[in-house]
Subunit: 334 residues, 3 copies
């Protein structure tokens, strides 16, 4: 009867968002790829029920346009990346239920464009972790001692019969829950500007029973340091997948790392370089390893609005599928 | 030019929402179904133009993730369930135009998770009514005497050549309007905690002319009672579809009822039981009748946030398609 | 961590929207088309970062319901029609980057239902311009002298191998950016109630290289006049497409115009007539020209809420595909 919804003047409901437009100009194996893409348009909706009870959500339209076609050529996707209820047990411990971002890596939980360097996200967190990675479940987070934070959660598992980590994300859409997963993280932020964290995850079966032996462990560790104008991000992640099926295609081990030094010439202008290396079939000797070199700049018009430019060079062991060139981007958050 | 939209501090625009995460753990005919699904993510947007003129809308993402595929396997849907303009003729009579929820049943108009028992909605309102059921059209609502409310509306009809009521919903998406429908309801709320209501609907042709004789009547009545800690919901609904086509498949009569006693042990904790019986092909003697037994609990963390658990047992005359097991849920509204 | 988003009481974030429900009752070549469609449901989200820096966006659900099917029969679409950052160089000049509406025509940038006559938008701006037309890119707008406004932009081009302008819109969804386009407009609003404007656009190649010679020019001019109760809209638009491919199918020239006088009987009630003529294959002598006559009324319940009714008669040179009949509509903006 039209009486639902909070009067927005109440201050209890929050609306926000972020977004990024990308221009890619890349040389490919047989030609070039030039693209203008509003890659991500995201809205946040939150509500504070009481001081201790709140809701938060993140709704995303990827690639700007979603339609139904006969051949599946529609590019856009509508995604619910976060939607959870959180309750404060006390000042230090919080429990939640719903759809959350998995606590792993640097970008997975904090991926607003003004918070990172590079037009596109780094390929290691994209292909190994795989960010953005969200799941339905329950969890807790909090502080175990000053400067020491923890996260634990039980959530939907991956589901891909080819052991493809990224394609295995079920995105909380009628996710097969025969085989669940659990994640734990410990994070140290004891000195201003320094974050050190390590995550571990166990998957009961990343094929949800298609392959009857496909349990998996994910190990990840990273440092994210900002001291004066100097920044450094370094991350390592590795999957160890059990069973003969994954081993047969070399997917039993999938791993990667990157290191990204940066320097803020002024508070508004920063430069970075990044070396990335990863392999989604590291379990055999096939030429599946990939390297990528990036250099670029961020210019913050405002702490929440950023212009980006970078140059990327890919070096694949297979010598195919390499995309070299430059990217431009505009990003914002509010 | 960026000047659109109301400053949210004005108090004239409202934002709200509701949502529910479901975990289903059910035994099926040949195995089991375990699923984690953010079943519904809903946002409300409303605006008050003047004291007498307002807009209200409900936008929903079902199953958390919408994409385009070649085989139609994408699970998510984006739905506009409400979007109407309402004008107050006076304090007692209101007219509206746009997309509205059909005034029938208990859950169809009030389906926020904290307002009902059970993780999943009851199968009678889902398969007979069929909730959530919305349509484009015009209508009026109001009070004819203290405690006596009415609704009348003219709206898009159903459209399914197999006389499947639920699949016949056109959802205001270029809905075929050759054959319209009209609905009337009378509701008595003369004593606090008691609602008694009856709806009647006429459909000109639920196949939109595929079958040239398929007019239909829907009859529905219910009681929704909350007296102290005791609650009782009971509902009966019946379709009477004309023509030889519907009769040939037994779909000329489709009916069902449920009864749901409940008890609030504390203001935050309630228990319920529900008996459901329905048949979408009651017009012949085939074994198409279905029964479902539910028992469960609701725990309200807050009036607007609820945790749910229930056990369901299905008993189909055909002895196939039965799903027995338990469900867990988290729901909220704001 | 739930801390994103602006408290809506801050006044820096804006939410708005518009929408329109259409009822079409038309005679077609072999029968009739009667339809109820919530054609457009649009939400605006904006944010003011500083006095000089802002974000604005327009998110649309077309046809009320988006789902994935195997045969592409899903009607709805989710579209990001605007999403840009704008920065004020000074009071008179503004630059922007992101997804914007192309500055051409009357309706393309201002298409909220209360701002125009007619249930459906005029066919000339739909099929020639083609409104609503948005693109990713960068641009500037401002004032060159009192009453004289300008727009210039560089943006994604069209992409359709059959020289179909409307289907060529890439909608900022991984748009092929091998061949870009640029648009310029000059607008005079030196007398209250009068707008005169002309746009010109150059497309490098509207097939993005499928046809290696398909550059194109778009020319458009219009007047939009409201003097007391009298209104007049007139618009002419013409495409000149280079190359033998377009010429072979007559698509090398595509043009149209309309003229729409109107009269406000009262501030709330207006009447209009419109003559439309256009041809998407004007480059040859085939019978592809189309004419449409419209007459109708608008009744504004409020400046932001409108009821519409009109009658349309189509007169195609081919004598096929004509749809004659009446349309009803409800529209709003906030």
């Amino acid at each position: 009867d039209g009486s639902h919804g909070t009067s927005l003047a109440s201050g209890k409901t929050r609306v926000g968002g972020y977004g990024e437009l990308h221009y890619n100009n890349l040389d490919t194996d047989n030609g070039s790829e030039k693209s203008l893409d509003f890659h991500r348009f995201v809205l946040f909706f939150g509500h504070q029920f009481t001081d201790r009870l709140r809701f938060f959500s993140e709704l995303e339209l990827e690639h700007a346009f979603s339609q139904d076609t006969a051949d599946g050529s529609g590019k856009g996707e509508v995604e619910l990346e976060q939607a959870y209820i959180e309750y404060d047990l006390n000042d230090r411990h919080h429990v939640r239920g719903g759809v959350s971002l998995i606590p792993v890596g640097i970008l997975n939980e904090t991926h607003e464009p003004p918070t990172f360097y590079g037009v596109e996200r780094n390929p290691v967190e994209k292909n190994i972790i795989p960010a953005t990675w969200w799941a339905a479940g329950v969890g807790a987070r909090g502080e175990i001692a000053p400067g020491w934070g923890y996260d634990v959660s039980l959530h939907e598992g991956l589901n891909n019969s080819a052991y493809n980590i990224r394609k295995g994300r079920q995105k909380s859409a009628e996710a097969d829950a025969h085989d669940l997963a659990s994640t734990a993280r410990i994070k140290w932020t004891g000195v201003a500007g320094i974050e050190l964290a390590a995550s571990i995850q166990y998957q009961q079966n990343i094929t949800q029973g298609i392959d009857n032996d496909a349990s998996a462990w994910l190990y990840e560790a990273h440092a994210d340091i900002q001291r004066g104008p100097f920044g450094l991000r370094a991350l390592y992640a590795m999957w160890d997948i059990d069973g003969s099926g994954a081993k047969a295609v070399g997917a039993d081990q999938q791993e990667g790392f990157y290191i990204e030094p940066s320097y803020k010439v002024t508070p508004k202008f920063g430069v970075f370089a990044r070396y990335n290396q990863y392999d989604n079939a590291a379990g055999n000797n096939a030429d599946t390893g990939k390297k990528q070199y990036d250099v670029g700049v961020n210019y913050w018009l405002n702490p929440d609005v950023v212009l980006k430019a970078d140059y990327q060079k890919q070096d694949n062991e297979s010598n195919t599928g390499e995309k070299d060139g430059f990217n431009l981007g505009i990003g914002y958050q509010f």
